[in-house]
């Protein structure tokens, strides 16, 4: 059984009018069933309003499902006594770096989680150092977060979660407010945590380029999981992704268009290197054909 398991999970937001009566109900999640294996790098894709952030909040027990059940490390998130254990197991990083840093000094902010958990002082210091090193922000430990760049702030936020020693980190669009450099920094950090520390990563995003290295991708649309598979499986279905208002990475799109023009390229090309290699093979095959038949391709 995986570290996070959802069975037919549904969640709806109720809009109340002034009298406190239910005015309208919006189904944000509908019949979601998924299973995340420990140590995996999972990406959840979806355009705005597809319910992906609502789902992320379920992983951390900020929200509890109206229907169905969600287990984090075997604990039912609807039971109030499990809430704090779940939050310890699945740490969460939010979109806006400014709104999740609590303290005016980097190291104190990283220490906030362990402080809440009642970790002894010396152990807090050890964890703070360790997690700041893991995200490459150790030399900024005495700085004020206000003077850091967006990417650095987000790395501090990640360190703050790492210091709680979770088994799983949920990142809810951590790069949406960052510039390209900051995005790269954050993704690299997340990748390292996954590979080196073996942490389960759940990355929620709408940037396609960020999911290429994931082990598994879930695509969400209108509160439902509509596609599930490896990045290669997902990105080979360009037309279907377009119908969910999602773009595929540029290379994949280029390969797709070339294929449509009749150039024999494999489906689901994900990286520049792959495309170059495939194109070289096509050319080599073409030359071979040329020498055999005496005509050009």
């Amino acid at each position: 059984m995986g570290i996070i398991r959802a069975k037919e999970v549904g969640y709806s937001y109720k809009r109340l009018n002034d009298q406190g009566e239910v005015e309208s109900v919006r189904q944000a999640l509908n019949n979601i069933t998924l299973d995340v294996a420990a140590g995996d790098f999972i990406a959840i894709l979806g355009h705005n309003g597809s319910g992906k952030s609502t789902l992320a909040k379920h992983f951390n027990a900020i929200l509890a499902p109206n229907e169905g059940t969600l287990w984090v490390d075997g604990k039912d998130s609807r039971q109030p006594e499990n809430v704090w254990d779940i939050r310890r197991t699945a740490g969460m990083v939010f979109q806006n770096p400014d709104n999740q840093i609590i303290s005016g000094v980097v190291e104190e902010d990283v220490g906030f989680g362990p402080e809440n958990m009642g970790v002894p002082t010396e152990e807090i210091w050890r964890r703070v150092e360790e997690s700041l090193r893991a995200v490459g922000m150790y030399k900024f430990r005495r700085h004020s977060p206000n003077k850091l760049s967006g990417g650095q702030k987000q790395r501090v936020a990640i360190a703050g979660v790492v210091a709680m020693r979770p088994k799983c980190i949920v990142l809810d669009e951590p790069t949406a407010m960052l510039d390209p450099t900051g995005r790269k920094e954050v993704l690299k950090t997340v990748g390292v945590l996954n590979k080196k520390e073996g942490m389960t990563i759940i990355l929620i995003t709408h940037y396609m380029e960020e999911v290429v290295s994931a082990d598994k991708v879930f695509v969400m649309d209108q509160g439902e999981v509509v596609m599930e598979g490896t990045p290669r499986e997902i990105f080979s279905q360009v037309e279907r992704l377009k119908s969910y208002r999602l773009d595929v990475p540029q290379v994949t799109l280029l390969a797709y268009e070339l294929r449509k023009q009749g150039i024999p390229l494999p489906e689901g090309v994900l990286t520049n290197e792959e495309l170059v290699e495939a194109l070289c093979r096509v050319r080599a095959a073409g030359e071979k054909q040329f020498t055999e038949n005496g005509e050009s391709v």
């Binding site: 939050r87 969460m92 609590i102 005016g104 002082t121």
Partner: protein, 267 residues
């Protein structure tokens, strides 16, 4: 530019005063302030001056920084001096039109002015050598006993430190909103006081909206990191009294006793 604003007026330096426990600094400053109201004679001022100067020298804070604090109370200072100068009855010294300055008036004016300035010097010295975070921690511990009366001391301290963290962010945001509105023709500069105040309303509304949104986000982020109020938390930087704190208390109490002794003696 607006990013660099420091809240409070901490002056970073390596000195004995900087290293003292914030609790020591708060309590000693309190004792010092009380001491200023104990005497009326110049001997008292002499002792207080020696004490204050020693503290300033030990703190390694440039004197100009300490003088800055006086600027803030300049108006108060002038009013106090003027009132004391003209309204205290006694032996007339100078007569200008209907106003008389008496010898008693001059004496009281000068002493009151010095008392006020010393008060500001002492308390600035504390805030200059203590970071806002340390101050918050110190207050949290000192007010700790109030928990008996159900005062949520830890929560208040947490609120204070969060406020400190968000002041520069909100300032930056104000700056941004102002620029955005100036770009669309808003005018914050011209007009009289009332007009200027009115022009701030459209600035405050978006600022409040965004502050509330931030607060909601932050509350969620804090909960996600297992925050559930003050109880059961441990401290990353717990306050601990050292030998130098005992020493500081000793000196301050000795100063206070000396002052009281001298007052008794001269009477």
């Amino acid at each position: 530019m607006i990013r660099d604003i420091t809240i409070g007026q901490y002056y970073p330096a390596e000195s004995v005063l900087h290293r003292l426990d914030p609790r020591t600094k708060i309590l000693c400053t309190l004792l010092y302030i009380i001491s200023l109201f104990l005497f009326q004679e110049w001997t008292g001022y002499l002792i207080a001056t020696v004490f204050l100067c020693t503290a300033i020298l030990l703190s390694k804070v440039p004197v100009t920084f300490i003088f800055r604090g006086v600027k803030a109370i300049m108006v108060l200072l002038v009013i106090t001096v003027v009132f004391n100068l003209f309204l205290i009855p006694g032996e007339p010294v100078v007569r200008i039109w209907k106003l008389t300055i008496t010898d008693q008036g001059i004496r009281t004016a000068v002493f009151t002015a010095f008392r006020l300035i010393y008060l500001i010097f002492g308390s600035s010295l504390m805030t200059l050598t203590t970071t806002p975070n340390q101050l918050t921690d110190g207050l949290e511990r000192l007010l700790g006993p109030l928990r008996v009366f159900r005062v949520p001391v830890s929560e208040l301290a947490m609120m204070m430190s969060i406020a400190l963290r968000f002041i520069p962010i909100l300032l930056e945001e104000t700056d941004k909103i102002m620029k955005a509105q100036t770009a669309r023709g808003a005018d914050f500069e011209s007009g009289n006081m009332i007009k200027k105040a009115k022009s701030l309303v459209p600035l405050l509304v978006p600022l409040f909206v965004s502050a509330f949104r931030r607060a909601a986000d932050l509350a969620m982020a804090m909960e996600a990191r297992c925050y559930r109020g003050g109880s059961g938390r441990t401290k990353m930087k717990p306050l601990a009294y050292g030998r130098r704190d005992a020493f500081a208390y000793l000196i301050t109490v000795a100063y206070l006793l000396l002052l009281i002794g001298v007052m008794r003696f001269t009477k």
